[in-house]
Symmetry: C2
Subunit: 430 residues, 2 copies
């Protein structure tokens, strides 16, 4: 056997990819395992779901990104169980990978708060397949409304309910209104797409709860100006194929999207350590699992407490920082040196709402409206992986901005006419 230490990294998201890159010059063999073949720029996934970008615009093959890193092997496969005592990870195809060091970074999936029966009626947004599924649902709703004779059904087809007022819910709601009022204008003969209702339903007291209250209020105002009906403090009590229940109130909506809850990937349960309420793995300051030497956890799967302030949030910059930290910790171990504890650097918080509408919170800086939107746009295009993607995204967006058109308005898949009972694939993990 090759005596070079073997590092197995599960998940090619931000945490896994940044850890792999952080080990580029380390004397290790790396196996990066992912269920898909691509790294996904998840912050723009809602743009694929709303037909603004095509899937390849926001994804790049992992083995292409890592083609020059000779110590890294990319494997497409699914990890199903971890044996921390035997230092071995079992794969779905029956094979297994032995490791000296391992990083679990398989991310999060949707959680329906114990109501798994809601899943087929309210798809969530975590993978490219999810995004294409949601795109199909949204575009098909307008198509079906055009063919529908019954005014009640037509109304329900033109009602879109988004559950969850976090960043994803806000982005989806803002974009949906734009599609209805601008993109599809003049294209239908029997319906008026601009009559579509878009509701954003948030159980808590305000949208974008991770932001200061003043920015939440700004966001709410901007959403309403765009045409979104925002309802805060209304927990959803039921979802079925016909619509949503909020306590006694019933909203007939044929398209319901889930942006409310996430839970850590089920792989964490096989670690044999106690998990937090969301299924995440509590890790120490070095991101190692206690009692499982050489096993690290990073990204959305990790629960990291900070000495002061709130726990580390499940956002891309945090995942990248954790990935880099794990790489550094492994390098330190190999050199028999101590490594400093992980420290999260909070670079602030951005959320986009719609055309010329966003909020930004960076330390003491608070922006909203057009300035915040430009800030958000620049930051996102800059961080997109790959020059070609950046160029293509810029082209799509410039075009979309001036023409109100959306490039990817193509319904794909068998369920174009269907009732949406088909189940999307919904976890990002490897």
């Amino acid at each position: 056997m090759d005596p070079t230490p073997h590092v197995v990294i599960v998940g090619g998201g931000f945490a896994g990819l940044w850890a792999t890159r952080g080990l580029a010059s380390a004397p290790v063999r790396i196996t990066l395992l992912d269920r898909g073949n691509h790294h996904l720029f998840q912050p723009l996934l809602y743009q694929v779901a709303t037909a603004g970008l095509s899937a390849p615009d926001i994804a790049a093959p992992l083995r292409h990104i890592l083609r020059r890193q000779r110590n890294a092997t990319v494997l497409m496969g699914e990890a199903v169980a971890v044996d921390t005592a035997g230092k071995r990870i079992a794969l779905a195809d029956g094979t297994a990978l032995d490791y000296d060091f391992a990083l679990l970074a398989s991310g999060a999936t949707h959680a329906y708060f114990g109501h798994d029966e809601w899943a087929p009626h309210a798809p969530g947004l975590k993978t490219l397949d999810d995004a294409l599924h949601i795109r199909r649902r949204i575009l098909s709703a307008f198509e079906r409304a055009e063919a529908e004779e019954d005014p009640g059904v037509r109304r329900a087809l033109l009602t879109f309910a988004i559950i969850g007022g976090g960043p994803t819910g806000v982005e989806l709601a803002g974009t949906l209104v734009e599609i209805a009022r601008h993109t599809l204008r003049h294209e239908f003969r029997r319906i008026e797409p601009g009559d579509a209702r878009v509701l954003l339903l948030e159980a808590g007291p305000r949208v974008l709860a991770a932001f200061p209250e003043s920015l939440s209020a700004q966001a709410c105002k901007q959403l309403e100006r765009l045409g979104v009906e925002v309802r805060c403090g209304h927990p959803v009590s039921g979802i079925d194929a016909q619509g949503v229940s909020l306590g006694d109130e019933r909203i007939a909506a044929r398209t319901v999207l889930w942006a409310a809850g996430v839970a850590a990937s089920p792989l964490a349960r096989t670690l044999g350590v106690p998990l937090d309420r969301a299924g995440r793995v509590p890790v120490g300051h070095d991101l190692e699992v206690s009692g499982a030497p050489g096993m690290f956890v990073a990204g959305d799967l990790a629960s990291v407490q900070r000495p002061v302030g709130r726990p580390v949030p499940g956002v891309a910059p945090a995942a990248k920082q954790m990935g880099r930290h794990v790489a550094m910790a492994i390098r330190a171990r190999l050199a028999a040196k101590p490594s400093p504890p992980f420290r999260y650097r909070d670079f602030g918080n951005l959320a986009t709402i719609g055309r010329m509408a966003a909020v930004v919170h960076l330390g003491r800086l608070r922006l909203s409206g057009a300035v915040a939107w430009w800030f958000w746009l620049t930051a996102h295009i800059f961080f997109l992986i790959g020059f070609r993607n950046r160029l293509s995204v810029m082209l799509s967006w410039t075009w979309a901005y001036w023409s109100y058109q959306r490039a990817a308005r193509i319904i794909l898949g068998d369920s174009g006419n269907g009732d949406g009972g088909d189940q999307p694939r919904s976890t990002r993990q490897a």
Copy 2:
């Protein structure tokens, strides 16, 4: 009821869309029915299948194309039967459309020459869903080869057999070699993608049989120079999940693509008239169905004999010309004027083979190699619908040409790891 004559057009391909446009100023109400929501630029479909272009690059929503044509209504739906006596078309959802004039232009689907059991093992290429399915198969084969320990299985995973030496087969074969030898180079650690075998299997005596013999020979030479193994005169006798049989010979190939036969869409059978061997509807010189007044057929679904020479071929320019002719014939009927018979104008024949390799046949002009390739490239980008698409395709291609990279190398869908038993949707018709 509205007294304006109602024209129902089934299928938003080249024939249906050009007919609709040709009736823009006519005193009619048009309903354009299509099973999908988009017009597809089918000549570039192989580029989506081989990850060079993304699906939205070669498709545009029908209702967006027709947004300014106020007399046209686009409906997403599926025609299942035609009652020519009652002048009514039945839809899959139970409704029906009454017509004064109708055009069936629902195109062609794959035909397996009576071997429908081959379909799951050898997907064909007619729709965007087909293209994404083939893309997934091709990219997954390399991924699985990288994970495979058994050298025999690895060999079979790296063997690609394309059945049919027409334009689609030739394009797929040429592009596959390029992917293996250039695009994926340096990206795998256990396999050498350049070792992949690409076979083009043609039952007849030569590839590109619609071209003069000298150009067929040129095409064959160019394919072999690129690295394709061309076998002519070898009809396939069997296809299963493990490979292809050619008489006594057995080729272990885990990826088999079907580019051999097409048959007219099954809707034609409900017309109640005798069809030709490929299931197409024989039509008169005005493209009307004999015995069914007001019912026209155009595009791949029509069988049109010419006074001299071969029948009108199933290519995009012929479909456009037929669509335009039907529009003219309907306008003439409404004005109670006679209309001239349909006459096919043959603008020549182009086929691309690979990088800097193509053949062109235009009257007495015969080109091959780089000149033909540039000719083909310019013609195809020019005819692509929509400025934005043209720009995006040009960007993708320029990038792909210089970098050997392909923008859309993203495996989507549940069957990424699967054995390919999943069935793609395979007819283009409405």
